[in-house]
Symmetry: D3
Subunit: 306 residues, 6 copies
């Protein structure tokens, strides 16, 4: 990674691309699927663009001075090999199946989407025993129900996950929620199921420090999953996404939130909803790649502490 | 339409928007669906953008001096009201159903896509008796078969249409074909079923005049349908499309081809595959809107001659 | 408004377009005029683009849970039908005349510009009796005088409005002012006439809460008008404007300011200076449409409380 | 001009900027005015952008091997110093006045617009005795009449010029005309007044050679003016313009047309309607700058032959 | 290559990436170096972007029906591993050294630049015995001399190659030359050294067929090299390049030229000067990738015929 | 400067361009050189673009009410006239030589880059006696060492300056540092040499006020230099730069920092790393031009106080 950043093949972070997983600690996975969106598509191109932009990343974190590549074997394990893209239930099954392979090989899955519908089938693979906790950073609760004929749309994954006992709503926190909706139904579902929902107005009142305390209080010890929707970030920083809502987080706040999760028992993490066709300047992908680097650092620290 | 072009609501060509079809001769229909693409999506935004750019159009054709609005009642009949977007067979049925209403009201359907998969369900509505002829201008034959789990993908509509007896392959001409494929199967299907395929190299040899003669020879009298895929045009003029192939037609050639079809017995026409997220300059939509205006002129002439 | 957001005709917020005003409570008006700018033009395209982007909006506010469409009849009343665009005094008269029709029909005018010169002729229609108060959010005081031969330029509307007794400078507050000028004359006029001017530096000291108190103190009860120039927002969020000044408000601050005006006696409101040719990413229009939605919510609440 | 092209102050072609005209043979003039457009504005920024892009130009023509800077004193004489921009008749008078100064100093005016309305006041200065001939390359005849309250709009300059006896319609040729209009009135005026109008379809039939012959036949010997509207070029090459029409000339054809006028008695020339806000890639300005260089070469040759 | 084109790691044409060359017939090489440009830099990003866009390519040529992957082992051999980028002579030596490895392993080098200076060090590796012939498609002859302190700049490679006896000027043809220069010196060098130079005007007269005959006449049998500068293509198709000149070739002409070289004895080929920072739409890279595919087809045919 | 901002020749701030320096107090200098970058080039175009955008600037500061043009003779002194661009040591010498001329004429040099390597040769001219203090605002410490074969790369200028005794590390403060690195070596050098390094996290804790105190404490009285790398600003505001790092300063913070330096003994200042090819919206240049205006105001005040 010491050669100039415009050189070499664009794998995630310019890590080795592997097709066999037995010697990988952290697998960077692409999930180029956007067939479940409700509005603007394009995230099928997300993994490719994040791979490209991730070569801007370097190795040693400026705060923690951690170099995750020192501690862990980190590889690009490629894209989920879907053989269909038009049928949502089958797509979900194929995603789950691929993550079961990763989990079976003790690979920590760090995923780059794709639309948010992918988190549900990922959770089916990583939440193998008890429901896991969830740190969910997003503009939307994604606990809505059927829309345009499918309950597997990208506004619904966490409702499905609760129904299936994959996540524990009482150990779930949703951060950054904002923007009008056509009904309060999803907001109500989150609240009624026991999730802690921090709307952006409360986020501004609590500040990052206060929110981090809430995360600790809600999720606690025990296994948990981190799902970061890039639309939690204000669209000026991350225009490349399908359902932008103004008034969001700054990338710096995103970095701070992730950076502070290093004590959690993560079983997986994802960064979703990067949509390159709406990202003319590439800043969305730059933010995404940097946030993935933050995730790499905390996961590497967690793994090397085990 | 005499007010400045930046003013007023952006219906197609700034025509009246109607929800009831009994007094419409030509219905401009939006089909904002792109769930059947094999590569880059985005054409769900096509009708909206063509509506917007179409306000650049004016009324009197500079060659024929025809003003189609003098002769015909032309309306924007809105978008096909799909209630599902994730299930291809159902989407196809809903499209067919809407066009049956139009045809039942004697409305000539001039459609703006949407991906090319929409032409198959449209043909199911407009080819009510015998198979119709087809003038198909495209970079691809779209006579391929199942891909990624569906045979309703946007590379397959004309194979489906032949199988269902909706088009007569011997009265079908495909113009502008080019670009590598992963197998010659679709090219072979077109040829073996009896279609006349003019690859771009032959197009350059024949010239527009020669191609027009071939159209006449192949399609002849009798009902026919015009399907114009914007990717027939060279991607420099029409970058906003999902599967661009360099070395294509110029917009002027597109105008000449359409302009010369005024003696045909058209039962419907479409302009598909305009994908705004890949059309930063808007030229794709400008070309598309102008080609739709050319279509309007020949259809209006056909109708007023009846 | 429940159908996918890429579908349907792009009226403001996808409300019904009406040409007769008797059954409308709130009229969304387009004023596509930019003939009075001093620097970069382009806002003539503002209403069209805000209409397009406004289809991203939904119905229920995430804080107040208000759905303005439940309480009020909200319509797109089209664009001001100017018959001349080259002569500023005549343009001003035609604008006033159209708003007199709206006001005469008891329609609350919520306008989307257009350059800021339009607020002066709007005020001539809405400030029918006494001078009204003014909440003016902008990077510039717009109290300058003649420039390049006209005192109806877009840097002058509030000076004209004071001279005509349309606004009460003592009940006028200007928020977000910043950026160098070629003379301090406009700043001085605002101050000398009695307006309360909050430059951006003071804004940062007071915070949104402090500014809201000042608004209450200055404007008080009694009729007032809200004029929001998109260039009050930092140009990184709203590059699509004619005279950008760095160091401005965030969209979240804009939302908070508007949201808190719900107790005021508004007689009209506008959002001006959106210039699509300089808004490649569309974020300006997204911010503008969301701010208009915030305005709709407070106006609907005001109307339903009457 | 031998230093790298990204260096130095961006005058036209990096020629010396002069404020006194007595030692200038050819004056490159900017006319940053777009207040007379009927649709999209933006050409006020044209001279600035053409100045910037013109530093890509070099000195020795690859066909004629002429270096115009060897033969002539070529200077950037700045922008027309308008003191008003809102009143069309006054603007016209101020333009005429500035060109009278140039002509009075025996400076050949080569102008960069600005919208096409500027050609009429320029002609008032350069056509001092008899009506001059006109080579007019454009998508539109610009012989329309009053629109939105002014007959000085940018669709009307050549009608005004005929009425004033500034150009001789029988020695006028209009080349590249195309695109629908809301009435045939302008086309008819051109024809009825005796102009030779070559629509794009005839252009394609005649070829450049044939058109050049027609130019010779129509304009003949005697003084003439060259007016080149960038929208004559197909909008894919020149998107940066207000009223694009597909199906236009290529830049190569533009070069050939200009290059062949070297035997004419030119009294002035202009390149108008370059609108940077619609020219994201800068290709419009690159084409424009190169066409201006072609003009410089023929004018320099004409002057050195005198 | 049968999976969707937005998926998988972006090697050139999605071929296997290899670091050992013994089983490779054709090596696709990236040369991300632009330190020798005279104007706008950016081609250091060329290989990365062409890799990305090349996944749009498919396998079977629509004219020849050749699938080069059937006949040859084609691999992405990575980027030239430069250890310095600031010193032109050393960079040149390192490039030569890498190509010597390729040639030593009987790998046919098909290179993607990078600026045109790279062709000289490549020629030092591939022209091992006698001077080779050269088919050079470009807007510029690139036979200029020292500029700004170096004779290894990107305007000079073929002059250096003649001086070193790497190419035979009498078996060299330069095609597509155009655009002004600050002196005729390079043009003269080409002519005086015996090269056949086809300026764009002659190209238009001869047509592609005539030019192909000239190529045959000039280069004949015997080893030769193909160097394709993307700026030979008109900048509207290929804006992403450092020294654009209007009035160039179409991509279709580029395809025809390459396609017809299948009988030549190629020892190497390159496609240079793709500069992504100036290629907002990506069309330059699409053209480049498609031209590289054309090269692959003729090289594969040549190799399988051996 | 009172004419419309789209008019006139684009010198820096539309000041007079001079080639002789004896009557200039503040010289605005362009240094269009980017040959020392480690990643993305493009800043060679920075001075041109800042010149263009700087015509958006006006004269009277809205806080201090200072008009720097009242107090000082401010001129555009052109670009450093390099005669080579490929050899870093020679380039450095030529830069130093030009600044020695300026300093010799008592011209205060306010420079616009260009990559950050230019500050080292500038310091060689302005730090003539003792080492000067340094206020360095940047995302990177730029105290790294040799890279890719040169220790004059743009990541190294302040290490070179310390080694040469041009700056006093104990009177040096680096502000805004952030982002991963491939080793901590540069960070360590800064610290070990005695510089005060304020990483972005500490910046957020101290606030602008606290940082300003630190600047005073560290730099104190005595001569100092101000070097402002635009990449200190968050890339959403300033995407046009070579090595963007998310989580940076806002432009308002940049303004505040500069504005408060008015009591310092500045001997020179620069604004570097503006890279137009990556600045599609132009906001980077707008920020840069406004920051340069802030610099002008404090320097003018310093000079008029002397």
């Amino acid at each position: 990674m010491m050669v100039p950043r415009f050189r070499e093949i664009a794998t995630f972070m310019r890590t080795p691309y592997v097709e066999e997983f037995s010697t990988t600690d952290i697998g960077l996975v692409g999930v180029p699927f956007d067939g479940a969106v409700t509005n603007r598509s394009g995230t099928r191109h997300g993994p490719r663009q994040v791979r490209d932009m991730s070569s801007m990343m370097r190795t040693t974190h400026h705060v923690s001075r951690i170099n995750p590549y020192d501690n862990c074997r980190i590889c690009d394990v490629g894209d989920v090999p879907l053989t269909t893209i038009y049928d949502l239930p089958t797509v979900n099954d194929q995603i789950t199946s691929f993550y079961q392979q990763l989990v079976g090989n003790s690979v920590f899955p760090l995923s780059i989407g794709g639309d948010h519908s992918i988190t549900y089938p990922i959770l089916r693979a990583v939440a193998r025993k008890d429901p896991v906790g969830l740190v969910h950073i997003d503009a939307h609760t994604d606990t809505w129900n059927e829309w345009m004929g499918s309950n597997l749309n990208h506004g619904a994954p966490f409702r499905r996950a609760v129904e299936d006992g994959l996540i524990d709503p009482k150990r779930t926190i949703q951060i950054g929620i904002r923007g009008a909706q056509n009904s309060p139904e999803g907001w109500n579902y989150s609240k009624d199921s026991g999730m802690r929902v921090i709307f952006i107005e409360e986020f501004r009142e609590l500040g990052v420090e206060g929110v981090l305390k809430e995360i600790g209080n809600v999720v606690g010890a025990g296994e948990c999953y981190l799902s970061f929707d890039i639309d939690s970030i204000d669209p000026v920083y991350a225009p490349g996404t399908g359902t932008p809502e103004i008034g969001g987080l700054t990338p710096f706040e995103g970095q701070q939130l992730i950076r502070s999760l290093k004590k959690m028992q993560l079983v997986g993490a994802d960064l979703v909803e990067v949509s390159p066709p709406f990202d003319q300047s590439g800043n969305t992908a730059l933010v995404a790649a940097t946030l993935v680097f933050e995730m790499l650092c905390i996961v590497a620290e967690q793994i090397s502490n085990q």
